[in-house]
């Protein structure tokens, strides 16, 4: 708290808001400015791109009269900034407009596709985190040994192998040949519609409805694409963990801890690892954000109706309402994960307070 009475001689006026409120308002202002900038840039790019949104509606065969009518109807005859302000006004009223491709409100579409991506990305990042961090630590502790080399090769494969190829091979092996997992799609067709959609996430909805058959079927479809994304993020997370750990393990306080007779486990996990948690928060948050943007190729291979393929298809079809709506969501994801990272910093590092 800022004390006003402590420095009266400097003539400072009384603060109108408490510090936490000021910080809150500043954060909100910053979010609003970021979102506005994001919308403006996306809107302008969408309008100057050599894709014709009118053709997307009227079709290739349309006469010039039909074309002109829709051109006018979309407000494209107005100056760009006027178009943007109309759009902004609608967005502020919660109206992202209708998608040309699906004939439904964009907000409704996003409510349908985003949970699919969220379910996939969350399991993906969990797999990446729980395997990647220990692998990174192990690699650093056994630097230069066969363990380090094996992990390095494994992560390098994850990093460099095209995800669509890995996906196809995974699908062929685990679905096509072994039959261990479900095929493309979120559920077998006979399980679709059996549980009401509450969150849009199949596993969560199945648990809420208490239908374990649907849950396990959904899980069998989810596990392969999620593992694939997990492998992809694992590569990044483990490489970063190794690098952070090596830096810590060469520090003097580690030598001191060892001299004091602490067990190797305490040295590594109790001291060195504790000090890289803040950096790892950023790495994991970035990985999660990347996955939440949607992995277009993974979504295509696994027929996963997520936000990545939604935005890509919209972009290629000049469906600008959908593109802008999707961009807002992706922007919000990054902002939310940033805020979450800030909060976690304070938990892991008292100095950040």
């Amino acid at each position: 708290m800022v004390s006003v009475t402590s420095q009266p001689e400097e003539g400072r006026k009384s603060a109108p808001f408490p510090a936490w409120l000021r910080k809150f308002l500043t954060t909100c202002g910053s979010i609003a400015a970021t979102m506005l900038g994001l919308l403006l840039v996306t809107f302008v790019i969408g309008r100057v791109m050599p894709i014709d949104p009118v053709l997307a509606i009227v079709g290739e065969r349309a006469s010039q009269e039909s074309y002109d009518a829709v051109y006018h109807q979309l407000g494209l005859d107005k100056p760009l900034m006027v178009q943007f302000f109309y759009y902004l006004w609608d967005v502020l009223h919660g109206d992202f407009g209708n998608s040309l491709l699906t004939a439904r409100p964009v907000s409704q579409d996003i409510a349908r596709v985003f949970p699919a991506t969220m379910e996939l990305a969350t399991l993906g990042v969990v797999i990446g985190m729980f395997l990647g961090i220990p692998m990174g630590v192990l690699s650093a502790v056994h630097r230069g040994t066969w363990i380090d080399q094996t992990i390095r090769v494994l992560t390098l494969v994850g990093y460099s192998m095209p995800i669509f190829w890995l996906g196809m091979m995974g699908l062929l092996l685990f679905y096509g040949i072994l039959g261990w997992v479900g095929g493309p799609g979120r559920l077998d067709i006979f399980f679709e519609g059996l549980v009401p959609s509450v969150t849009g996430m199949v596993l969560v909805d199945a648990l809420l409805a208490g239908d374990m058959d649907v849950f396990w079927n959904g899980f069998s479809h989810l596990i392969l694409p999620a593992s694939l994304l997990g492998y992809y993020s694992l590569a990044y997370i483990s490489r970063m963990t190794r690098s952070f750990m090596l830096e810590q393990l060469s520090a003097e306080y580690i030598t001191t801890a060892r001299v004091k007779g602490l067990s190797e486990r305490q040295v590594i996990w109790g001291h060195a690892f504790k000090n890289i948690r803040v950096q790892l928060v950023t790495v994991v948050a970035l990985s999660y954000a990347n996955l939440l943007e949607g992995s277009v190729l993974t979504e295509i291979i696994f027929s996963w109706p997520g936000i990545g393929s939604y935005i890509t298809t919209a972009l290629l079809s000049a469906d600008m309402n959908a593109v802008l709506g999707g961009t807002v969501v992706v922007g919000l994801i990054f902002i939310c994960l940033n805020i979450l990272s800030d909060l976690l910093y304070k938990i892991f590092d008292p100095r950040a307070k």
Binding site: I51, L55, L101, W165, M168, G176
Partner: protein, 530 residues
């Protein structure tokens, strides 16, 4: 890049599958599961729907006055909601008698009033496919008089005495679907005649009703127990959006789907030998063509136009990268259409092309070819580019999305366009009226819907001949007229029609009577058995 990745993935999985045995499982006997790309569906309203996948849904949901029987497509249109029809002496009025005892999915009876409402609505809404009806002179102002119900009959009055077959063929198009007036009007908002509601719902009387449409995911249809031909054996049809050919193939081999409709040539070749799977070929209406902009000073020379027709390796392409997917066809009417010519006089002949170019005094020609970023088109473009280079023509490819390239094409900005054209309705006029019809070639006419106009071609008299063919009522004479138009078109036009599409549907061998609709219509499911 995406194409390269898809190719690589397809090749990799194809190789792997070919060496791995897989057993066919099965979907339930009364459910048909089809995998295809359905991300082009933007609406389910028959007055608005104009895409391939949307046409498939509509054909199964909405009945029309006249329609095609999927078990006998060669017979042409047959009565459906109409029991019979008569044509007035002056040839401008057709009176349809409506069949009794038909009902919508809602239980409401199908009446002449519903037919009047549906067709008037399609004209009044004025959506993209409305030209299929408005070309008969129907407009918002006159539709109350030109499409009229009276008791159990509906009369349609056109502005000219068109060939009856032309009018009826157009009524078999998606836009001719008859909707349930009461149900649709119950969902009307702000005078939209139920358009918003019908975009995502159905109100038809066909073999199936739409249970759910999840964009870019699935369409689920439920059989209509009161369908006039009897309850379809497939009580549910599930159409799943599966983008990748390799994924469709895997699912078919695993038995999770019954039909795969978008397999690439490698996957078709691979799956052909799999036990329990069959591949059924159907000729479709889509044509692949090149067109030369006649505003270009060099391309407008007759010798140059002719030379370009010898720069395409028709046989080579259909025997290699287009094998099984396209067949050589050099006429604007697809095979199976009335009057379609099967003459294919051109073949790759570099020497002849060079000689013609020399005669035309062409030297150092450099051109821009606009092409969409689609695998088959890019391969055709590259093949043409190589042949053109051998004849001394430098071809620069402008590759872009459909919307990008089309915008330039419609604005007459491309030297050469490489694209595809699919008929809008199953009558020869659908293609004749765009390839060989251009009443005003001036820039001001802005007839962007006509391919002849987009290429700045005045059609050299074919416009009049096309106009004469569309009003000819004698079927044999009409066919002969189109044959003559095509003969002249092949020689003089700036269009180089190269190939006609073949659709290869792979399916579980238990699936019988599946019809993708061939070149004239869309897929139908009521007759399918397993």
């Amino acid at each position: 890049m995406m194409i390269f990745k898809s190719l690589l993935a397809g090749a990799a999985i194809g190789l792997a599958i070919s060496t791995s045995p897989m057993a066919i499982a099965a979907t339930p006997d009364n459910v048909l599961v089809v995998a295809m790309r359905i991300d082009d569906i933007t609406t389910l309203d028959p007055a608005e729907s104009f895409e391939f996948a949307g046409g498939d849904v509509s054909r199964n949901v909405y009945m029309k006055l006249v329609n095609f029987d999927p078990t006998d497509l060669d017979a042409g249109y047959k009565p459906e909601i109409a029991e019979s029809w008569t044509v007035s002496d002056d040839g401008t009025t057709i009176t349809f008698k409506i069949k009794e005892g038909l009902s919508f999915h809602s239980g409401n009876p199908v009446t002449a009033e519903d037919v009047e409402f549906s067709l008037q609505r399609a004209v009044l809404l004025n959506k993209t496919p409305s030209f299929i009806l408005t070309q008969f002179g129907f407009s918002a102002e006159n539709v109350a008089q030109t499409i009229k119900a009276d008791g159990d009959t509906v009369t349609i009055t056109t502005d000219q005495p068109y060939a009856t077959s032309f009018v009826l063929n157009c009524l078999t198009a998606t836009i001719g679907g008859i909707v349930d007036k009461k149900t649709v009007l119950a969902h009307e908002v702000d005078g939209d005649m139920g358009n918003e509601w019908l975009k995502t719902n159905s109100a038809g009387s066909g073999a199936y009703s739409v249970q759910a449409w999840n964009p870019s995911d699935s369409v689920v249809m439920t059989a209509n127990p009161d369908y006039y031909r009897g309850t379809p054996e497939m009580t549910r049809v599930i159409i799943k959006h599966v983008q990748e050919s390799a994924s469709q193939r895997l699912q078919l081999e695993r038995g999770d789907i019954d039909v795969a409709r978008n397999l690439n040539p490698e996957d078709v070749a691979g799956i052909s030998s799999v036990e329990g799977v069959k591949v059924v070929d159907e000729l479709k209406g889509r044509l692949m063509y090149l067109s030369l902009n006649q505003q270009h000073p060099v391309l407008s020379k007759p010798k140059v136009r002719e030379a370009f027709k010898y720069l395409v390796d028709y046989e080579g392409m259909t025997q290699s990268f287009l094998k099984g997917q396209y067949t050589v066809h050099q006429n604007f009417l697809p095979q199976t259409y009335l009057g379609a010519s099967s003459e294919n006089p051109f073949a790759l002949n570099l020497e002849k092309a060079k000689a013609l170019l020399e005669e035309a005094g062409v030297d150092g020609l450099e051109l821009t070819v606009g092409v969409r970023e689609a695998q088959e088109r890019l391969e055709i473009a590259q093949s043409f580019q190589n042949n053109a280079a051998a004849a001394g023509i430098k071809v620069n490819l402008t590759v872009g999305t459909g919307k990008q390239i089309l915008g330039q094409y419609r604005a007459r900005e491309l030297d050469v366009y490489l694209g595809a054209w699919g008929p809008d309705y199953p009558d020869p006029h659908t293609n004749a009226g765009t390839f060989a019809f251009n009443p005003d070639n001036s820039k001001e006419a802005n007839a962007t819907g006509l391919l002849a106009w987009r290429n700045g071609w005045d059609t050299a008299g074919l416009t009049e001949k096309t106009a004469a063919a569309v009003v000819e009522n004698d079927r044999a004479v009409r066919a002969k007229l189109y044959d003559e138009i095509q003969a002249e078109f092949r020689e003089t036009s700036p269009f180089i029609v190269m190939a006609q599409q073949i659709e290869q549907n792979a399916m579980n061998e238990k699936v019988m009577n599946f019809s993708g609709g061939q070149a004239i219509t869309s897929a139908s499911y009521w007759q399918v058995t397993k």
